[in-house]
Symmetry: C2
Subunit: 278 residues, 2 copies
């Protein structure tokens, strides 16, 4: 099996490291950065590295694209004549419906694109952020489309299992984007808004405990990537913000009215729901 | 030195465990629950336990009140004739200005109340949540008032050092409450509002990564305690929510206008500020 990973950043690099250890026959890395390729070769993450995808893609059984969201469709467009007959292409993008729409327009008939989302991010950019155990116990989502062949979905599921993922779930693209807006994008929007508050100061940490540290961790964000992801999922994210604001308003109103019983009910409801989850 | 701890919950119990290991001469626990007292005695957290504070308070050099915020003033009122001449009283309440106002009205002249705030919470209620190392590396704040004697502030600082705290900082009560509204109370308000969103469902965890787990951890909240704390700090907390909402609106507007440059600037600003802190 010939695997080509396009983009040896923190995510692509982690796939390479782990799958190499799993004994994959052939892993080829594609990256625009020569130093990254050399490092990946020197450290034994890949069997071969190149800055020109055309030749290696012609041999690939699976093409794993770990590019920025906005690069996926253009990569398909530029390489559509190079893919091998029956090749499986897959991505790692955190938003699905708009990407699927853009890619399906361009995709040649002789390949099958399995859209996937490994749910483990990285604060570190580039191959320096790659870790062999990055995906250990992580979850992943696959959003099948009608043209996908079952055997190809299974190939991507196996790739994820080999990379260390625990649970790989199939969901509808629309449900994916709605839920990701809530559980991931909204968290990032809240975190950056907290950090950008005019109350932030050099003294802040004198007062801060674990909750502030944890809640603001994800404000250390890759702005290029996330500006794209937020824009791609604009409607769902705005809905999630609205649903959140409705609840914050309930809290505020109870507070404005110094209604301690209503405050307690609101807090208790949250406590019970949190306990159901974890 | 004779220390009386009033309230052997997660906080009071943790102080007792640790200070006993530090070799304190005499630690007396006061609690309304007989079983708690028996457990604390059996496990060697205290030298003596009682449900009636009057007698033991008459002997106390330091009285550490780990009661609910609303119980502090009434405890002082009920026991004001029992305190020893020159006794130091201290508390662990997370909000200061309103408490100081209530307590100063009632406090007899022969004692000194040093208002303090150990910044390490507990998700577990009661003595079952006590841990010897709970305060290891934690921060604490002391909010001196004009009547406090320097030697007594130092006694409480020493008590905190002995309990394992790393940094004990003196701040003005008003600054304390403003900053706590931002770094702690706002975090809790956001967390419970996220969990109470109508988007929450049994499927949520299929989609959730670390950020959701971390951000919602503090939604597992003691509603009795926090409803009191929020109400006591209502104005400062409403100000913090407003400052946060202003920033969330900047984010939303950039998103509505699909202004990726503005989104990137906003995210980058947060990233740089977060890096300054941690």
């Amino acid at each position: 099996m010939n695997l080509v990973i396009v983009g040896l950043g923190a995510i692509g690099g982690s796939f390479a490291m782990r799958l190499m250890k799993q004994g994959y026959d052939r892993i080829v890395g594609v990256d625009i950065d020569e130093e990254t390729l050399q490092l990946a070769l020197d450290k034994g993450y890949i069997h071969e590295g190149t800055t020109s995808p055309e030749h290696v893609i012609a041999e690939a059984d699976i093409v794993l694209l770990t590019l920025y969201p906005g690069q996926i469709a253009s990569f398909i467009d530029e390489n559509k004549d190079h893919f091998k007959q029956g090749a499986v292409i897959t991505d790692v993008t955190g938003v699905k419906t708009s990407l699927i729409r853009d890619v399906e327009r361009l995709l040649p008939d002789h390949v099958d694109f399995i859209f996937a989302h490994p749910m483990r991010g990285s604060e570190k950019k580039g191959i320096a952020g790659a870790e062999e155990s990055k995906f250990k116990e992580a979850n992943a989502l696959i959003t099948p489309v009608s043209s996908n062949k079952e055997e190809n979905i299974k190939k991507v599921e196996q790739l994820y299992k080999d990379a260390g993922f625990k649970t790989i779930t199939r969901v509808m693209p629309e449900q994916h984007d709605e839920q990701i807006a809530y559980v991931s994008q909204l968290m990032h929007a809240l975190s950056v808004s907290v950090v950008n508050s005019t109350q932030a100061s050099p003294d802040t940490l004198l007062f801060a405990g674990n909750s502030f540290k944890e809640l603001t961790r994800i404000a250390d964000i890759n702005e290029e990537l996330w500006a794209e992801l937020f824009s791609m999922n604009k409607d769902a994210l705005l809905d999630s913000i609205t649903c959140f604001e409705e609840q914050l308003d309930v809290f505020k109103n109870a507070l404005v009215n110094t209604n301690e019983e209503e405050l307690k009910d609101f807090l208790k409801k949250a406590r019970l729901q949190r306990k159901k989850w974890y």
